[in-house]
């Protein structure tokens, strides 16, 4: 394969993976946008989604994509309950307390998974795991992995649905009002505590669904949550904290950067022994640091210097 084909292929893979990343970022960004709290357990909720899909596939013999219909409502209840039982008690406290509480909840989730499933990587095999659609353009041959395309479509549908909900329904109006001005929303009769719980539930659904979509692509280990939390931070910082379209763009950028970085660096002589797919997770983090240093409000966000 020549450089051009390889680069284009990496671009396609990156965009498709970036779609799933976008969903992880969207959940974190939505929670931040309304509650002004960074959920440090977000990545662990993604892993919880992966293990739920694994459980559904291995015990209930469900197709991972069908199990979304079972897992998403459960994830909503889980997130809603977590907020009602733990986080809502911290509404008056400093945002550091809420941050640490989400960190603790994430630790509990990942360690319970560790107790239940052990450290060995788990994955599901579907009949279509390795199938690809091939597209010929002139002499170029592009491969589209079926599961990545399906994941991308499901992500697009979910984010589109979420956006419609936010901008056309009464709950969506209440959510946006709470995000803009909590006191003002309360004066208009919005139960903001309930809205917070709803938003935390929706954020958990997005995380868990992303986990389900990732399971056929990656094998799950209970401790990989921090990687996803990191990726979610990168995405939301790139797109601007609290912005939903920003999260989509951030997710796509991260996917492309990781994919291009790990497939193009090995082609450069002198560097090929040092940078490659080993550093896959580092490329996003380096971009993250650069954005934090030079444009902390994100590429598309409004200026929020203070979190």
């Amino acid at each position: 394969m020549d450089v051009l084909t390889q680069g284009l292929q990496a671009l396609i893979d990156g965009l498709l993976t970036g779609g799933v990343y976008a969903m992880i970022g969207a959940g974190l960004s939505l929670i931040f946008g309304v509650m002004r709290v960074i959920n440090f357990g977000h990545g662990d909720f993604v892993v919880l989604g992966m293990y739920s899909a694994f459980f559904a596939a291995s015990v209930l013999h469900m197709d991972p994509y069908l199990s979304i219909f079972l897992i998403a409502p459960l994830a909503y209840l889980f997130g809603y309950a977590l907020h009602r039982l733990v986080l809502s008690r911290l509404l008056g406290a400093s945002d550091q307390s809420t941050k640490l509480a989400t960190l603790g909840l994430g630790l509990v989730v990942s360690n319970v998974l560790l107790l239940q499933f052990g450290t060995q990587p788990q994955t599901v095999d579907t009949s279509y795991s390795t199938s690809v659609w091939v597209l010929h353009v002139g002499t170029l041959e592009m491969r589209f992995s079926v599961i990545r395309v399906v994941s991308m479509l499901i992500t697009a549908a979910l984010i589109f649905g979420l956006n419609r909900m936010l901008f056309t329904s009464e709950v969506g109006r209440a959510i946006r009002a709470t995000g803009q001005n909590r006191l003002g929303a309360e004066l208009q009769g919005v139960d903001t505590r309930k809205i917070y719980a709803v938003i935390f539930g929706i954020g958990t659904v997005l995380a868990a669904t992303a986990g389900v979509l990732l399971l056929p692509l990656l094998s799950a280990t209970p401790t990989m949550g921090t990687i996803f939390t990191n990726k979610a931070f990168v995405i939301t910082i790139l797109g601007g904290l609290g912005s939903l379209p920003g999260a989509i763009i951030g997710g796509l950028i991260l996917g492309v950067v990781e994919s291009l970085g790990s497939s193009l660096f090995p082609l450069i002589p002198f560097l090929n022994n040092h940078f490659g797919s080993n550093y896959r997770d580092a490329y996003g983090l380096i971009i993250f640091l650069l954005v934090l240093l030079f444009k902390p409000e994100g590429l598309y966000g409004r200026t929020v210097k203070r979190v």
Binding site: I38, V86, R89, L90, A93, D95, Q96, S97, K99, L100, A101, L103, G104, L105, G106, L107, V108, S110, N111, V112, L114, L115, T119, T223, T226, N230, F233, V234, I237, H274, N278, Y279, D281, A282, L285, I286, F288, L289, L292, L293, P296, K305, R306, V307
Partner: protein, 344 residues
């Protein structure tokens, strides 16, 4: 609170009656007896894991938590990347020992590297506030972990490095002897505690706390917040690297996937937060309070030992927001000042 001056007065009176270093001396003396108590403690069946090795690791973790406190508790900058600084100290000693450099010089070099790293890291990230610093600390530590994992020419990669033979400390003490290691770890904890005692009354300590409480207010009074945070980070990093070097002596084998995980950074931070941030003994109390149950349930929990941390941090945040030592201090203060409400 309307009574700022009586607080200061009573604190002054108190310190003349009960010298703060007396507490420190008693705590260290009690800990120094630990190796002699081990045969008695391990008689109890469920305390069998609470042996000398447990004492060493707990003391090292306590020292690391106390070092984290300099930045996290006193200036309010929550770092979740301190494992990288532990690794800097540990790798410096191990790699230099391979070339015949004595561990005490290796430790000093490691502390220097960690201080320089913290200086650069801090001057890049302290323009950012609040959660942004925490996020960037995770990112920097993760990049360093990936570096250690992939640059095997330097660090041995995923297989790690083994400690070379070391010369004896002062010509008599074998650094691989567990008892010697225990007292080395105890000296480390004592050193950090002495530093914190000094910090409590020094001008620098007041700068740190001013920045923690109100960054804009501190700036208005002529404190440079970025400089205060950076100073705190450099001290914190140097002590953390010292702890890392001692940890390397204890472990004798280094692997990036144990030493440099975010989970380890979180562990260090949570020990201090559960014990009580910004209190003198918070890290020490946290390390022992979390260490003993983790050891007792080791068989049941296996690799999920952070479960205890996760449950406890949620409970502490909900019910004792200042940590265990913070709550004790508050209670003690209220008992002695019954007319004031709210504590300090």
């Amino acid at each position: 609170m309307s009574s700022g001056s009586p607080v200061a007065q009573s604190a002054g009176r108190k310190s003349s009656k009960w010298h703060p270093f007396l507490t420190l001396f008693l705590v260290v003396a009690l800990l120094a007896c630990y190796p002699f108590m081990v045969p008695v403690i391990t008689q109890v069946s469920f305390l069998q894991g609470v042996n000398l090795n447990f004492g060493i690791t707990t003391l090292i973790l306590a020292g690391l938590a106390l070092s984290w406190d300099i930045l996290g508790g006193w200036t309010g900058q929550n770092s979740l990347g301190h494992a990288a600084l532990v690794a800097v100290g540990a790798y410096s000693v191990t790699l230099l020992a391979e070339h015949g450099v004595a561990p005490w010089y290796g430790t000093l070099i490691g502390m220097g590297i960690a201080g320089l790293l913290a200086w650069g890291w801090g001057s890049m990230t302290f323009r950012l506030r609040g959660s942004y610093f925490t996020l960037s600390s995770i990112a920097v530590a993760e990049i360093l972990r990936l570096f250690a994992l992939n640059e095997s020419w330097l660090t041995g990669g995923a297989e790690g490095k083994f400690m070379a033979d070391l010369p004896k400390l002062f010509g008599t003490f074998d650094l691989f002897d567990r008892k010697v290691e225990f007292y080395v770890a105890l000296s480390f904890v004592t050193l950090v505690l002495l530093f914190l005692h000094w910090l409590k009354t020094s001008r620098m300590g007041f700068y740190f706390r001013a920045v923690r409480e109100d960054e804009d207010g501190a700036m208005a009074l002529g404190v440079n917040p970025a400089k205060a945070k950076s100073t705190a980070f450099i001290w914190s990093a140097m002590f953390t690297a010292l702890g890392g070097a001692i940890y390397a002596l204890y472990l004798q084998a280094l692997e990036p996937d144990n030493l440099m995980l975010v989970a380890f950074s979180i562990q260090i931070a949570l020990l201090c937060i559960i014990g009580g941030r910004g209190t003198l003994y918070g890290g020490l109390v946290g390390a022992f309070l979390l260490g003993v149950p983790s050891e007792i349930f080791r068989a049941q929990l296996q690799e999920a030992n952070l479960l205890v941390y996760g449950v406890l941090i949620v409970l502490v945040i909900l019910f004792l927001p200042k940590g265990i030592m913070g709550a004790l201090e508050n209670g003690w203060y209220r008992k002695n000042h019954p007319l004031e409400k709210g504590g300090h």
